[in-house]
């Protein structure tokens, strides 16, 4: 029951809010970031001051090939990691003052759903989540995983802990709504009325 709720509420954190006031000279994003509005509401001066207080300088946001012409759009624009480093708390020592408010740059929450999260994602996400550089934590926090994968042992690959076949009767009596997140009556009757094994 909690897994979809967590996803919904995760997205609710990205619900469109009143956009910040446009900066005087907003740098426009490129087509490489289609989910970010154009022009991006971004106050470069405020960010510069905050980042200097945090001990960061220009090259932390503009790591390579920055060409600065007065009044021009930075070329190339900062990579996504430059924003997410602070706003998703992914850099050690990053400014804690950076709000984790997805809606500031992503006013349409639906656009945040990655194209990979299609109908087959439930059966494919495990491999991606284990991959180096995975970005699950951009949107999902730890309770999101735990809500389904509540078995934290070494075999924590399914929502059910080892031994669940023996314990599921009592656990289902205690909290049957948690079963109903994924299962309907046929799951129960497949074994309890026919003696067959679900496979």
């Amino acid at each position: 029951m909690t897994r979809p709720l967590l996803l919904a509420l995760c997205f609710s954190a990205a619900v469109a809010a009143k956009p910040p006031a446009p900066a005087p000279a907003p740098p426009a994003p490129t087509a490489a970031a289609p989910a970010v509005p154009d022009p991006l509401p971004f106050d470069h001066g405020a960010h510069t001051r905050a980042l200097k207080r945090a001990g960061l300088d220009c090259t932390d946001c503009h790591p390579v090939g920055l060409r600065v012409d007065a009044g021009a759009v930075p070329d190339p624009p900062p990579p996504r990691e430059s924003c997410h480093g602070c706003h998703l708390d992914r850099w050690p020592g990053a400014s804690k003052a950076a709000p984790r408010t997805c809606a500031s740059c992503h006013p349409a929450r639906q656009d945040l759903l990655p194209t990979s999260h299609d109908l087959t994602w439930a059966t494919r996400h495990a491999q991606a989540a284990r991959a180096p550089g995975q970005t699950c934590a951009d949107c999902h926090d730890r309770p999101w995983c735990v809500a389904c994968h509540d078995d934290r042992g070494p075999g924590a690959r399914t929502p059910h802990a080892p031994g669940f076949r023996s314990t599921h009767g009592v656990q289902a009596r205690i909290d049957p709504a948690s079963c109903a997140t994924c299962h309907a009556a046929p799951t129960c009757t497949q074994c309890h009325s026919t003696g067959g094994w679900p496979w």
């Binding site: 087959t120 049957p176 067959g196 094994w197």
Partner: protein, 398 residues
């Protein structure tokens, strides 16, 4: 609805497409006399239709090997999503996310995102396990918005109609998130009409420097049987009059090991019993640690009960993870007092593995062996082999 999806599929013939097909052929012979075999071919597609529209589809053909019809084929899901002006439209069979969770809708939904996100939806409900649409029609609308930085709220209303009668539902939700990922969520839903009921959940999460604490309190009594009986969920007969459950969880790393515990009480209302309430609860605690490269060992203990049923026991398990290949083993022993019959000691052991065949990463062999004694003191033993063939993009889609 279907016409629109079909029309969009037709327009996508020349569009960039991602296509997966998965074939699983295998057998699960029960070594004590109930042999089974199953074959399944599943096709999943995600077509980029251009202009921000995508079309997802999922279908399968399977022989369930003696369970149900001998050969079944299903177009399980067809779902299109994309922008219409400043709104976003979804049609087909899909899961619509809202503050209550996922609303599985065979129909259409539209959402407009501005300072407040306004959504409306209509169609029939379907179940994510059976993939079947029921007879319950639903139409609803909701609004979600930000009250303050880190504070989001939502409210909505919904009407449902099935053969037995109509039902009105209202729901609201509040989500508060702190700067260090502390979170508090409150969700409430009320149903009136053909059947009355309510559900409420308060969930909090408190990450600390190394440990993490969380707690959930829920009351569950939403009616579920507006759906056809075949789709009813276990709540219908296991807790027909509602129940409350509280769960507190904590986890903390200790060196390379992870220690965790969780549990809490439960209280069920029983109108047809001598006592109007039945009390129970669940507690679990465990630890796991790497003992060698790619090898992790763990153990956990569990005690759970709901008057008059209870169990207590423990499990040890091991996992060898070599990327594409995995090997798992676990052994659990439990003492169970069922609601009927004598107390029994049961055990269950499993050995399962998955290994790649060839170097493509798209062919895998799966095997499982299991044995034990169930709560009726009947021995069980089974084993099986399956071959998974997968075509299409490997790993995460672009």
């Amino acid at each position: 609805m279907s016409l629109l999806v079909v029309a969009m599929l037709g327009s996508a013939l020349a569009a960039p497409a991602r296509l997966w097909t998965t074939t699983a052929v295998g057998g699960v012979p029960d070594l004590l006399g109930r042999p089974q075999a199953r074959a399944e071919q599943q096709v999943a597609t995600a077509l980029d239709l251009g202009s921000g529209w995508t079309l997802d589809g999922l279908g399968s053909v399977r022989d369930p090997g003696g369970q149900g019809a001998p050969l079944t084929g299903d177009l399980l899901v067809a779902h299109a999503r994309g922008p219409v002006g400043t709104a976003r439209l979804e049609v087909g069979r899909f899961a619509r996310l809202d503050p209550r969770g996922a609303l599985h809708l065979d129909g259409a939904a539209v959402a407009w995102s501005g300072p407040v996100t306004v959504s409306a939806w209509g169609g029939r409900l379907w179940h994510p396990e059976t993939w079947r649409a029921g007879q319950t029609g639903v139409v609803g609308a909701s609004a979600e918005g930000r009250l303050a930085p880190g504070v989001d709220a939502a409210a909505g209303a919904e009407g449902r109609l099935a053969g037995a009668g109509g039902q009105a539902r209202a729901f609201s939700a509040l989500h508060v998130r702190g700067a260090r990922a502390q979170a508090l969520r409150l969700t409430a839903e009320r149903a009136l009409g053909h059947q009355d009921g309510a559900r409420a959940e308060l969930c909090g999460d408190l990450p600390m420097r190394r440990a993490r604490l969380g707690a959930t309190a829920r009351w569950e009594n939403l009616p579920t049987d507006l759906l056809p009986t075949a789709l009813a969920n276990p709540l219908t007969w296991l807790a027909p009059h509602g129940y409350g459950v509280v769960s507190v969880r904590a986890q903390r790393p200790a060196g390379a090991a992870l220690l965790w515990t969780e549990g809490g009480p439960a209280l069920h209302r029983r109108l047809d019993a001598s006592s109007p309430w039945a009390a129970g609860g669940l507690g679990r605690a465990g630890a796991s640690a790497p003992v060698a490269p790619h090898l992790r060992l763990g153990a956990h203990a569990i005690a759970a009960g709901l008057s008059p049923t209870w169990l207590a026991g423990g499990v040890v398990d091991a996992a060898l993870d070599l990327g594409e290949g995995q090997l798992r083993a676990d052994l659990g022993v439990f003492r169970i007092a069922p609601s009927t019959g004598p107390r029994a000691t049961t055990w269950e052991g499993r050995l399962s593995g998955r290994a790649p065949v060839g170097g493509s990463g798209r062919v895998h062999l799966r095997a499982e062996l299991a044995a034990g004694v169930d709560r009726l003191l009947q021995p069980l033993a089974r084993g099986g082999l399956a071959l998974d063939l997968r075509r299409g993009p490997a790993g995460q889609a672009p």
